[in-house]
Symmetry: C3
Subunit: 343 residues, 3 copies
């Protein structure tokens, strides 16, 4: 199965906010890395660490900053932000992002739900009563939309996504396969003998331009909604507990675990497999490194980390014994310092 | 899509084990937090930290302990355990927990499998041969029940749940979307060149009143069953390896990873993103804090932790260098102490 | 639902590379542990820690090393590698691994896609245009194969697996329920205000004899493919970022998070819930212990760890305060050493 996509370089330059120095009739039919691109492909230099690969690249056109234009061996697309221009170009050649429309006959759509003519509903999709589907929406096979789900225009629901009742998505939202939005938050009242379920009556509200990765889970709120603000990007296998509020344009890398009722600010970056304990607040522009746990609120922007760094297991075994003596070590040191001071 | 649910306060009080001080004819149609509740809603005060919100709440009724009854500005529901009463009330207003029945025509049910009249099987559900479905069971869209699966009465299988062959659930079990129960345990015999699969011939047995979160996975046993005892609550994206035994009423928070053949006692709490290495035993009433790894058996109740706590990354970078010198630091300190002792 | 499987011991011995000392006509119909096996079952002793259980076992036959043959109370299957022989035996008794064939009428298969007569396509499976399905392939219910997916002979796709377009599997690959292969890698270009999606144009290539656990996610490459080499075994809920290369026969335990563009060598073992930051290289035969983070490249084989080990939370709280003073502690110690040296 092939979808041929091709652009004349002159047109492409305009679409990616770059200035062409070269042949505007050159046909570009795909993207390649500097090292591997072949004739007819577009490449890019966004990190000067790869400057040595520039001169030998066989790409037909290369996106570069102005300062590297002279060194460019091919048609040159000069951009202030080559990585952004590359991002814009990648969209042009993504056959999977093409519009589609129509409703597959095996889809099971509740009475009264309207599917706009510009939208697509794939095989075995189930859409329950009261759902509202925007224009130019793609809902791939086997996805499930519970009662009252709302999907904004130009959103894309990949195959096998599960949206519980009353989940609301903004426009241009992308959700990848296996993601579950709106499952019950984890709340129980312990009566001394057993845990009694607190039914989760809130919903999940997701803003415009949010992307959610494969297998990620975002729980519905206990009473009020869980909120993911516009522009947030969430990688695979991320867990976001009930009643969290994730601020605009924050990026959450894969396998991160955010407990319930956490408020994260805008433009934060949670590194891969990081975590946050419940009921804390993280300020705007905080970056948390991989596999670090945020164990209390952070009120200032900046970079934060936890963990020990890896080492040879033999060394580590000795060091963790000492870690468990660390308070004792510190006190003994203080004692020596005190006795030395007296000397 | 709306389901109107409403209770007279007099009836509601009985259902949640509270004593009404106020108007038993008052109509309650939903729940709200103290701060956000509006006319006609029920609220609760379970944590005295929120006492200041009590007097300004616009809720029509509030669940409180007896000592706060006088301060309650609305109809008052006095309870010994307000949080438990709130949990009971949350069930009453959960439209998603309503009973449903019938078999969707698109469901694919093997010959010989009987669906009780009180149970529901949604669109595209697949139920294979030999499955046994209890009464008042709800199986939502696109879920899959392998050969010989057994589901106890009043259990609820949310959309897109995958139960492999011979998985057995007790009564009142809830399983959320994307959960996979009974996939093969991770077992291989290395022959010096390659890993040879050990086929997993055991099953998974899940007790009454267990809840399992979205995207969680519980592997089938190698030979004997993996066992989740009654009352266990498992959050989202938890992994439980083959042949684990999780004791009654234990709570496992999101993203926790339990390796194979781990036995966890009763009434334990595994914090979010915590872990346990394989083939260990954890006593009853052990609590493990978030992102802590249990690296050997724990034989006494209590709270356990690992990790370093988070700090500014600049400080952290200096400290982790020292962590790797920690055994050396401890020895040097000892040497000084010895020389000082001699003085 | 029962599938009766039974072997005469003489035949079974040959199938598992063991030498029979005993009755070759004895019927074996299943496997059991030494402690729990009953009449008619086969057991094994692969770890001498269990030698005490040998003499009391009621198994009808036991796989042992030659040195334990005399102590074996039943028919004896002597093997150089009892654990490998047990693995081979486990396959014989796995009813779930039996061949099946045929296409369920509810499957939705694009025009032009051929399903070999020896292969099976279950209910509600969706196979899009250009897919190529090998012989003796099993695709269980509700799985989704995007455009151009290729599945090698004898592969088994469990229920509810999602393969995005252009994912390529080798032969004898097993993928468990809820796994998502080929979702978009997590790539964005930040333009100063918002994150612009980098469309992921590469694919995923998976070699022969790979197994991928339930709920695991392997992202498609940005431009080139993400590559999983032959013989790799991946447990549940593992995340592998775009453009990773995982070397032959490497084993990745549950809940491990591998960031993008990581190259892992051959015969490595990543422990449960371990992690690796992006753009690093890990040498062959590296073992990483549970919940350890590999934070920079490792160029030598061996065992590596991070973390602190668990302790009582009360002790831990004191020690993590000291951890945050560790650089200061080390400097103060050095100062004392210097002053002592001068004395």
């Amino acid at each position: 199965m092939t979808h041929k996509i091709s652009y004349k370089l002159g047109d492409l330059a305009k679409l990616i906010n770059a200035k062409l120095e070269g042949d505007d009739q050159c046909e570009i039919h795909g993207l390649g890395t500097l090292a591997n691109a072949s004739q007819g492909q577009l490449s890019f230099l966004s990190n000067s660490a790869y400057i040595d690969q520039l001169k030998d690249s066989r790409a037909s056109a290369i996106i570069v900053e102005a300062r590297f234009a002279d060194a460019c061996p091919a048609n040159c697309l000069v951009s202030d932000q080559p990585y952004v221009s590359y991002a814009l170009a990648s969209r042009l050649f993504d056959t999977a992002a093409l519009d589609k429309s129509g409703v597959h006959p095996s889809a099971c759509i509740a009475e009264g739900v309207k599917i706009p003519e510009t939208s697509y509903v794939g095989p075995n999709v189930v859409i329950e009563a009261g759902a509202v589907i925007g224009a130019h929406v793609v809902i791939e096979a086997n996805s499930i939309l519970g009662e009252g789900v709302r999907i904004g225009d130009h959103s894309r629901i990949q195959a096998g996504v599960m949206l519980y009742h009353n989940v609301k998505l903004g426009q241009r939202v992308i959700i990848h396969s296996g993601a579950v939005i709106g499952a019950d938050g984890f709340g129980f009242a312990f009566d001394g003998t057993r845990s009694i379920k607190i039914h989760q009556l809130g919903g999940v509200t997701i803003g415009d331009d949010v992307e959610i990765g494969a297998g990620s889970t975002i729980d519905r709120g206990a009473i009020d909604d869980t909120i993911i603000e516009q522009g947030v990007k969430i990688d695979n296998q991320v867990q976001i507990g009930h009643n969290c509020i994730i601020g605009e344009h924050t990026v959450i890398c894969g396998c991160t675990a955010i407990a319930g009722s956490v408020t994260i600010g805008k433009y934060c970056i949670m590194g891969g497999a990081s975590g946050a304990v419940g009921h804390i607040t993280i300020a705007d522009k905080v970056q948390v490194s991989a596999m670090s746990l945020v164990s209390k609120s952070i009120d200032k922007p900046g970079m934060y980390s936890s963990g020990t760094g890896h080492m040879k297991t033999t060394d580590w075994k000795r060091n963790i014994v000492r870690f468990q003596q660390l308070d004792d070590i510190a006190k003994r040191l203080k004692k020596i310092e005190n006795s030395t001071d007296k000397d």
